[in-house]
Symmetry: C2
Subunit: 364 residues, 2 copies
DNA sequence: GCTGGCACTCTCTATCTTCGAGTGCTAATT
DNA sequence: AATTAGCACTCGAAGATAGAGAGTGCCAGC
């Protein structure tokens, strides 16, 4: 059943007002809004209807209405206006992102921080790297007891490890090993590194004194490094929200979010700029059933997808937050995939127009 | 003026009881304790004395006593019993630490998590690396447009960077550059890398097409990388404490702790195993004036000192927490400096006896 | 179908009362 | 002189009561 245009306008007014004030909204408040030109009595009729339809509810008989998750959903899907970021906001984001080109690890933490401070909600930043292969081995001979393993990955990242030995090796041996590993260990996935493979390489190079297994061990470590990382920042923001004045409630949520496992089990949106909204009971996790989660995904270069998001009460400024997240995610994509290939362009994020076009998925 | 033995026993009883219950302690409660064999009236006399001396205070006239920071200080310095960790506890710590030998970055975050869960307080983990120099350059030629810079630091860590060029270079050039950098850029601190030095190197190698500045730039980045990192975990623990039931108070503290700058400005204890306690107003930061901070320092191998700690109300179980922090810090030291040199031993933390000897500094 | 009016409901706040834990003081005891 | 029992007193915490105000549903009239 389609609901009338007027009902929609009224619902939108209720949600807007409640998002702003966190107080149940009464018929009078709505009647006073511009664009609504009927009396409060009429509004009351409509509100009663909307309640019957499941979009609103009353905390108690003689209070105003607050939106139900279903109400928020309709709002997010159809009613809310596209939020335009101000020029200051976009510039602040651009500036912050440009400043923070460092190792991915720090970038992650920093962008989380940025998101938190920009939205005033607890923010999370995740990466879920795709599997990759080793494209090249180098062994750098330092001295008789020391060498460095340098591994170039198909994702164009470099990993290294310094190895000290309790015995000495010759430079020739190191070179021989490098050649061997380049021949046998490149281009293969982590599950192809079998004990069989290792022992066959070990046989090919005699007198390795266990070096093969050290290097192979590093290769496995690098390949299997499911370095999905998760950062949670701005948790203090939660405490300012009226719905989390109850320390126990705040504690429950933060306790849940504090566990990386939980964060990593969040659903990963697909395409860059896609902003997804999960409202209250739409969340799978029991602990999130009366909170909302907004997630935006970005392309982190080497086959990796990243995720930024915020967590808050169902009463969130969805339009605003979604726009901001979308913009940040786009910026990250540009930064990281720009850095992927060319040495130029890296480190400069050109001002995107804030189209905020991120399709607001329906989250179910 | 030295206070009597009995006063000390009574003060200790008050602190112990208050740490446990978070409620003001009355004379009757103390009189019932074993080891105290005087009547509550006598206790009241003594309590009044202790209050006059500044060790105790009353929230209001008709309530029990709670310790002042001065009272806690005396308790920590002289009265509290050495807390013995149970075998389970030490084994849990050992097991957790042994499991977490990964990159330092993750280790840091993980040990923070461990500390938080072990103590039930918000935990912090910091590193403050010492300055170091570059001991060796290697440039790995990949193809005409690509090479890897590998830098071995005096601290025995390795840093690398993959460089893509918009033009092509010959392998010979790369080798020449490596030799040049090894000749001029090794063994010097970051402030010795002057533009003068760079341009003189640039002149020595003709036709470098800007490569020198790329490599020098990386060298500077690596040297100046004041990679002091700070992790804060277990913030949710704060909310369970009765003294932080007030969301505003919790918010203020968490807001302060959320800023890395603030964490990094904490005083750094010197020697490994040294546990330092800062009680209430002993903290320099205004925001910590009614909280306590317990810090333990460890030797993180390559010239670096690490720090773990917890933050909580002045009412903390100092003995217990100090013992735990000391034990973890010792474990970290063993792990990290063990890993520094030999390839063996790395990854096995032998069971330390929990002497908990960490001198409890007087924090002023 | 919309509106003004009206009785009703229910929470929120302020004020008051009561209760009890804990104190300080005093007088008696060791 | 130190300790103890007894007692009046203080003050916050918790519960009870009353009033105010916001908002509702419904009805009669336009």
């Amino acid at each position: 059943m389609e609901i009338s245009e007027r009902k929609k306008r009224i619902l939108a007014a209720v949600v807007d007002s409640y998002i702003e004030s966190a107080e149940p909204v009464g018929s009078k408040t709505i009647a006073e809004k511009p664009g609504i030109d009927v009396s409060s009595a009429t509004i009351r009729h409509e509100l009663a209807e909307l309640e019957r339809l499941g979009y609103l509810e009353q905390p108690h008989t003689s209070a105003g209405r607050i939106p139900t998750p279903q109400g928020y959903r309709l709002y997010v899907n159809e009613l809310m206006e596209q939020h335009k970021l101000t020029l200051e906001e976009t510039e602040q984001i651009n500036r912050s992102l440009n400043m923070k080109i460092q190792q991915l690890d720090h970038l992650m933490a920093d962008v989380g921080q940025l998101t938190a401070s920009l939205t005033s909600y607890p923010a999370l930043a995740l990466t879920a790297p795709a599997k990759c292969t080793i494209s090249r081995f180098d062994l750098i001979y330092i001295d008789a007891n020391t060498f460095i393993i340098v591994v170039l990955l198909s994702s164009n990242t470099v990993k290294n490890k310094l190895v000290h030995l309790p015995f000495s090796v010759e430079q020739g041996m190191i070179q021989k090993l490098a050649a061997l590993f380049n021949a046998h260990f490149t281009g293969i996935a982590d599950d192809e590194v079998t004990p069989l493979l290792i022992s066959s390489v070990e046989r090919a190079a005699l007198d390795t004194m266990g070096l093969v297994s050290i290097i192979a061990g590093f290769a496995i470590e690098v390949l299997s490094e499911t370095a999905s990382s998760a950062y949670l920042t701005g948790t203090q923001n939660l405490l300012q929200l009226p719905e989390f004045r109850d320390p126990d409630k705040a504690h429950r949520l933060l306790n849940y979010l504090g566990d990386k496992e939980h964060l990593l089990s969040l659903p990963l949106p697909q395409s860059t700029g896609d902003v997804q909204v999960f409202i209250g009971p739409e969340n799978v996790a029991e602990e999130l059933k009366d909170s909302s989660v907004i997630l935006a995904s970005y392309d982190a270069g080497d086959n990796t997808r990243g995720l930024i998001g915020v967590v808050g009460p169902t009463r969130m400024d969805y339009a605003n937050i979604a726009a901001k997240l979308g913009y940040i995610a786009n910026g990250m994509s540009q930064l990281l995939s720009a850095g992927e290939k060319p040495p130029e362009g890296w480190g400069k994020l050109t001002l995107m127009q804030s189209n905020g076009e991120g399709s607001i998925g329906n989250g179910r």
